[in-house]
Symmetry: C2
Subunit: 255 residues, 2 copies
C-alpha cells in the first residue's frame, strides 16, 4: 500500500509545490514508484515537472468531478519512477461544484482506493486555502507534511491549520497524522529565521524535520526548465537539503 502524503498549508508561497516536486524527484531516484497529484488550479507542480498543460488528455478535475478513470489521467514524466495526475484550469471551479455534491469530502479518497496499490508514494500538492480541495486531500491522505516559511507572517495561520487537521481526524479520516513540519526559505542573514524556527518547534514538538531548506535561487530556477532540483542542479544547497529531507521522510514511516 502506498504512503499517501498531502503537502498542505493555507499560507501562500511557503514552498508546497517546490516540496512536492522535489521530494517526489528524490523518491523516484531512490526507486520508489511515486505519483504526484496536482490539486492546485494554478498547476505549478504540473509545469514544475515539465508537463505541457495543453497536451494533457485528462486532469484531476475530470477524475474527481466527472468520475473519469484515474488511470486515464495518470501521466508519465521524463523522470524515473515518477508519474503525475496533472491539474487544469477547470479545477478552479471544483470548489463550488463540490459544495453540493454527495460525499463531497471523499471524492479524492475514492480515487485513491483504486490506485494506491500501484505506487509506493502518492504526494498531493494542495492550493493555498482550507477549502474543499484541501479537505479532500486531507481526507484521502494518511499523512500531512506541512512546509512553513521562516517568516513572521507564516506563523499566523498555524492555529487554523491545526484546527482543520483535527476536525478532519475527528470527522472524516481518523488515521490522519502530521508526518512532519519542514522549515523552508531559511535565510541566515536575518535573526528572524531563527526566531520563527524556535516558535514552530515549540508549536509542533517532535515534528520539525532536522533538515532545513535554505533560500536558494537554483530552487526557483528549476521549474522554469520543468525539472526537479535533482535533475537541474543536484550539487546545489537546495538539492542537498531536499535529498536529506526525503531521507527523513522515508525513514519516519508511521507505524
Amino acid at each position: 500500500n502506498a504512503r499517501i502524503i498531502a503537502i498542505a498549508n493555507q499560507k501562500g508561497g511557503v514552498g508546497k509545490s517546490t516540496t512536492a516536486v522535489n521530494i517526489s524527484g528524490y523518491l523516484g531516484k531512490l526507486g520508489y514508484k511515486t505519483l504526484i497529484i496536482d490539486f492546485d488550479p494554478q498547476s505549478n507542480s504540473t509545469s514544475g515537472l515539465g508537463i505541457d498543460k495543453t497536451h494533457i488528455s485528462k486532469s484531476i478535475y475530470e477524475v474527481i468531478i466527472l468520475n473519469e478513470d484515474p488511470w486515464k489521467a495518470i501521466t508519465e514524466t521524463p523522470y524515473e519512477n515518477l508519474f503525475v495526475i496533472p491539474s487544469s484550469i477547470q479545477l478552479a471551479g471544483a470548489e463550488v461544484e463540490l459544495v453540493s455534491a454527495m460525499k463531497r469530502e471523499y471524492k479524492l479518497k475514492h480515487v485513491m482506493d483504486n490506485i494506491k496499490n500501484s505506487f509506493d508514494f502518492i504526494v498531493i500538492d494542495c492550493p493555498p486555502a482550507l477549502g474543499l480541495l484541501t479537505i479532500n486531500a486531507l481526507t484521502a491522505a494518511g499523512e500531512v507534511l506541512i512546509p512553513i516559511q521562516c517568516e513572521y507572517y507564516a506563523l499566523e495561520g498555524l492555529g487554523q491549520l491545526i484546527n482543520t487537521i483535527n476536525l478532519i481526524r475527528e470527522n472524516l479520516n481518523e488515521s490522519l497524522i502530521i508526518t512532519g513540519v519542514v522549515m523552508t526559505m531559511y535565510d541566515s542573514r536575518t535573526r528572524l529565521s531563527e526566531q520563527v524556527i524556535d516558535e514552530v518547534k515549540a508549536y509542533f514538538p517532535d515534528k520539525v524535520y532536522d533538515t532545513i531548506i535554505p533560500r536558494n535561487i537554483r530552487l526557483s530556477e528549476a521549474p522554469s526548465y520543468g525539472k526537479p532540483i535533482i535533475d537541474y542542479d543536484p550539487d546545489c544547497k537546495g538539492a542537498t537539503a531536499y535529498k536529506n529531507l526525503t531521507g527523513e521522510v522515508v525513514k519516519n514511516e508511521p507505524k
Copy 2:
C-alpha cells in the same frame, strides 16, 4: 469619494499583504485618510499594522456576514491617517456561508457605500484564491492592483486572474479597471527575474509600474514589529521602493 483598490492575485506569497500595508503606510504619511480592509482569514495585514487580534471588538466577518455597522469595526492604528477593519479567524468560514447568501457578491460593496465618503483611499488585502471573498473585493473596488513575484511559478495563474477580472467587469462591476501591476521580490542575482518581468510586460502592456520592489529582508522583518516599512526602516531599499510605488499609484488616478 474614496479610491477603492483591491490588492489581488490568487498565487500565494507574492506580496499582497506587504503591498497593502506599505502603500497604506505611505498614503497615511502623505496626508490621505486611508482604510485597509483585511479580507484574508490569515489576518496578516491586521498584525502587520500592530493590531492585536485578541483585542478587536468587530472584524470584517461581523460586518459582511452578520450585517454589523462597519463603523463599529473600523479601528485606529498607531499610524497617521491609517485605519483598519481587521480580519478574524471566522472569516475562513465566510466563503461557504456566502455561497447561499442573497446578493452574495455584493456584500462588501454595500459596506463601501456606507463608508467611502469618509476616506481618500480604501485598500483591500485579498486571500490567495479567486473565491467569493476575492470576488466580493473585486466587485466593491474601482481598481485592482496586482503584485507579481519575479518568479517562474508566478506566471502560471495570470490567465485565470484576467479571466476572473473580465467576468466581474462584465457581470458585477463594469467600472473595475486594472490600475497597475507591481513586480515584487526582484532578485538581481538571477536572470530569471528579468525574464519574468519581460513576460509580464508583454502580458500587461502599459500596466506595469516603473517601480520594482526588490527582495529586501527589512520588509519581511517589519511585520514582526507590527510596523509598515516607513515606520520600521524608512531608509532601506524596500522602503524607497514602496514610497516610489505609492507615488505612482497616487499619480495614476483613473479618470
